[in-house]
């Protein structure tokens, strides 16, 4: 049985104990993210994060990997808009050793020049190969477009140009300012007790300096004027990816819960509007979804469908029409109550295991929410009236000013027809093998 305990250790460490299996999930989170990459050095945060696990001052890369993986685990890193994560899942008997390896990686990375160059080449390759996966490519471009002009547009991988300008000195500076105790959070779930965690953290992170808190400036994104389309041409596509996006609010915004409920009704479930309109009624798509991804500094509001290429105009027209209906007319009381109740009743899945519970707490904290975030969310889902949801959410979206990224096979007829869609103020096109070789917009 999961003990369900949430522990506070200097308010930055979340622990949930579960003795069912001899396993511990452990993650560290450092506040920051690609939005803090200096202009011209996009990709710096991601590269620094990768280099942390490429050896320490006492072990070269191969020895460090062998040491970690001999415990039956691996160190996994990821970069989110508001944080960097390092951690892994380890057999409980190795927890102490594992966290000490992690502590070494954070406090004493090797930062060898050869590994720096390799990691940079690896990121360049990751970018170049992204064009092979239509969905990833669309998402990568959309994020840059909808936040154009704001630090939020910075892609984690950077660009081919910015990666060529990164230096090892810049990495070292980024490391010194970012990987500090004042920006560190942890989550642990599994076969682990409070006192053991306390001891291990204290010992393993002793070498991590206190540092200074993350200086946070507001990051505002400006919507485009009108509906703007960016079409990435790829030959022989039988399906066309369509992603419609606009900036959204941070997780701490007072209207965020309303937006979540509305989005669930719009495109979050099988019974939602988009799924019914595109897949069930018209057979246009295998799936059609809406979601809001939020973090501490902002978020993205996205509609997505992958549609039969011969019916792409019909599909995009339906998407536009449905977005207008939702923003201007709102959704019905029934739809909103249904979505609200579904989110409330299904919430236990979000925290079903110790690992999920612990990381839920950490993520909420990283998003700038208080310790009562979960309770507050559930209270909202219990009491919010549909008119309240409607009023709060509609004001956060636009039916007229947004970006559309499409990946498919472009013909001259299609290009001409796209520009005649209501509200479209521009259609930009680029070939898939050129799309990442220069900035998407001037």
């Amino acid at each position: 049985m999961i003990a369900g305990s949430e522990m506070s250790f200097e308010d930055r460490h979340f622990l949930v104990t579960d003795d069912a299996f001899p396993l511990v999930y452990f993650n560290t989170y450092f506040e920051g993210g690609p939005s803090f990459d200096p202009p011209g050095l996009e990709g710096l945060t991601c590269l620094t994060n990768r280099l942390l696990i490429r050896g320490t001052t006492s072990h070269n890369r191969a020895d460090f990997e062998d040491m970690v993986e001999s415990m039956g685990t691996e160190l996994v890193t990821s970069t989110r808009p508001d944080s960097m994560t390092l951690g892994g899942t380890v057999l409980a008997q190795y927890f102490d050793r594992f966290v000490h390896c992690l502590g070494d990686a954070i406090s004493s990375p090797r930062f060898e020049r050869e590994e720096f160059e390799k990691s940079r080449r690896e990121m360049i390759s990751d970018l170049e190969l992204m064009v092979d996966e239509d969905g990833h490519l669309a998402r990568h471009c959309l994020g840059q477009l909808i936040h154009h002009g704001s630090p939020l547009s910075t892609p984690a991988l950077g660009s081919l140009d910015s990666l060529s300008h990164l230096t090892l000195d810049a990495v070292r500076r980024r490391h010194q300012e970012t990987y500090v105790r004042s920006r560190l959070w942890t989550s642990a779930g599994g076969h682990l007790g409070k006192s053991e965690l306390h001891q291990v953290l204290d010992s393993a992170f002793r070498g991590v300096p206190e540092g200074t808190s993350l200086p946070v400036e507001p990051m505002k994104s400006t919507r485009p004027q009108g509906r703007r389309i960016f079409f990435i041409h790829k030959p022989e596509r039988s399906q066309t990816q369509i992603m419609i996006g606009q900036p959204s609010v941070a997780a701490s915004h007072p209207g965020f819960h309303a937006l979540q409920v509305m989005t669930s009704a719009f495109g979050g479930q099988f019974s939602s509007r988009l799924m019914q309109e595109l897949r069930v009624k018209r057979g246009l798509s295998y799936g059609a979804h809406a979601w809001v991804s939020n973090h501490r500094f902002g978020g993205d509001y996205i509609l997505n469908a992958s549609v039969d290429s011969v019916r792409v105009m019909e599909a995009i027209s339906v998407l536009f029409e449905q977005l207008e209906l939702v923003v201007e007319g709102g959704m019905s009381d029934d739809e909103l109550c249904f979505a609200r109740d579904h989110l409330r009743k299904s919430h236990p899945f979000m925290v079903e295991t110790a690992a999920l519970q612990a990381s839920y707490g950490a993520r909420a904290a990283l998003s700038g929410l208080g310790r009562g975030a979960q309770a507050e969310y559930l209270r909202y889902l219990t009491h919010a009236a549909p008119e309240q949801v409607r009023a709060q959410s509609a004001s956060l979206l636009s039916a007229n000013d947004f970006w559309v990224v499409m990946v498919g096979t472009l013909t001259s007829d299609l290009e001409r027809t796209l520009s005649t869609l209501p509200g479209v103020t521009g259609v930009l096109t680029r070939s898939y093998d050129q799309v990442l070789k220069r900035p998407l917009l001037p």
Partner: protein, 430 residues
């Protein structure tokens, strides 16, 4: 009958209880005290390996059709009712099985069992529903196969490994076959395949056994056993151990290669899984280290042993960095396989692999859904859910000798199928 997963060092784990309903449906109950949600899964022992001749994709299309309406639950209502009580539902089809899950909060148990049993026992179909879902499946195929480089390559690979066996036909089906599936075909498939003797129900949650059994007996007891399902041979005759080249709109070369491997219950599977870990799993694995970290030829690589009822497949895939040569990497991979055949693995490598597999074993049993899925899978593929434990015991017993034996038995041949994808702009040069 009760079985328990437990780690001998830590004496922790979970239990399950095996039962049968009066009509032969097997039931596994997995008590998970304190959990607020449950997972109800229906495992059916028919998959795409049972698709009739000329109708590949039948099992998968049928899986889609199971979400359509019945007399008591009209079209569109199934998903809506599940969402109304805070549940989530989906299904999957593969070669040996189809499984359906419905996860929900505890207070929705009766509703969930009603919905699942109703659609299983009172399946209905008409032309409209069939045509609607056919179109959805064709869209799915376009997205996940025709427009997806890996989807294309893997489909070709498996067809080469089993050229006339049903394992070689894509689960999603070839488009012309899917377009030819008729109502009568679906009804026959339902009658013969979705029968009591082919079904295992798995219920994982904080639910008293007697309550669960009474509810399941009441709800599923009307389903009859089958009169038999005539299945074509899954494996067929010899494979096509050649090389196929295709051209795709990609920027880097990539390839997949595969060979036949033992069936899921064969003792050599554990040794082969250890070999796969050493070759391709983790940064310290041999091929990841040399091809990704040292030589920088490859951007991503994977290895996978498919655990199937009649015959497995060991498959490897490599995405090369732009301007790198697939032939060079293929040669390197073959060298490494030969090294394992001749020299085996070191003790350190074996111990590391076993620790990693053990970690993943426990990781795969965290949620109700995962536990139910693990037990359901082995119930169908091995006819015995406790094979989940047998595998763990066999893994613990793997040593240098068993690795060498398995490598020589299953890899020491030229019988590898290979599919290489080149960027389209290389077509004229080639």
């Amino acid at each position: 009958m009760t079985r328990q997963v437990k780690d001998t060092k830590h004496q922790a784990g979970f239990v399950w209880h095996a039962h049968s309903l009066s009509n032969g449906i097997k039931v596994l109950l997995v008590p998970t005290p304190g959990r607020l949600v449950f997972s109800l899964q229906t495992w059916v022992g028919v998959g795409s390996a049972h698709d009739p001749h000329g109708l590949s994709g039948m099992a998968h299309l049928f899986e889609h059709l199971m979400f359509k309406g019945t007399k008591l639950v009209p079209d569109g209502e199934f998903d809506r009712r599940v969402e109304a009580f805070g549940g989530r539902t989906n299904a999957a089809t593969w070669l040996d099985w189809t499984f359906y899950y419905l996860d929900a909060p505890l207070d929705a148990l009766e509703d969930a069992v009603f919905l699942e049993s109703n659609r299983l026992i009172h399946f209905e179909l008409d032309e409209t529903r069939l045509n609607e879902e056919r179109e959805v499946v064709l869209n799915e195929r376009r997205e996940h196969v025709e427009d997806d480089p890996d989807g294309r390559m893997i489909e070709d690979l498996w067809t080469m490994i089993f050229p006339d066996g049903t394992y070689g036909r894509p689960t999603i089906g070839w488009s012309p076959d899917v377009e030819h599936i008729k109502l009568d075909d679906c009804r026959a498939f339902y009658r013969d395949g979705y029968a009591a003797d082919r079904i295992v129900l798995v219920l994982s949650g904080d639910i008293p056994s007697n309550q669960a059994l009474e509810l399941l007996e009441r709800s599923y007891g009307h389903l009859s056993p089958s009169s038999g399902l005539n299945a074509l041979p899954a494996v067929g005759s010899d494979g096509d151990w050649s090389r196929k080249e295709i051209y795709l709109p990609i920027v880097g070369e990539r390839f997949v290669m595969g060979a036949r491997a033992p069936a899921a219950t064969h003792p050599d599977c554990s040794a082969l899984q250890v070999i796969n870990e050493v070759l391709l799993e983790g940064d310290s694995s041999r091929l990841q280290r040399c091809l990704i970290a040292e030589d920088e030829e490859v951007s991503a690589a994977y290895g996978y042993l498919s655990l199937l009822r009649d015959c497995g497949v060991y498959e490897m895939g490599f995405d090369l960095r732009p301007d790198r040569s697939a032939d060079r990497v293929i040669a390197r991979v073959r060298e490494e396989i030969q090294s394992v055949i001749h020299n085996g693995l070191t003790d350190d490598e074996i111990n590391r692999a076993k620790a990693r597999l053990q970690t993943r074993f426990y990781q795969g049993l965290q949620t109700n859904q995962q536990r139910a899925e693990a037990l359901g899978y082995w119930s169908v593929v091995a006819n015995d859910p406790s094979f989940l434990l047998t595998r763990g015991e066999r893994l613990a017993a793997v040593n240098e000798a068993s690795v060498l034996r398995a490598a020589r038995r299953w890899f020491d041949h030229d019988q590898w199928s290979l599919v290489v994808a080149y960027p389209q702009d290389e077509a004229s040069a080639r």
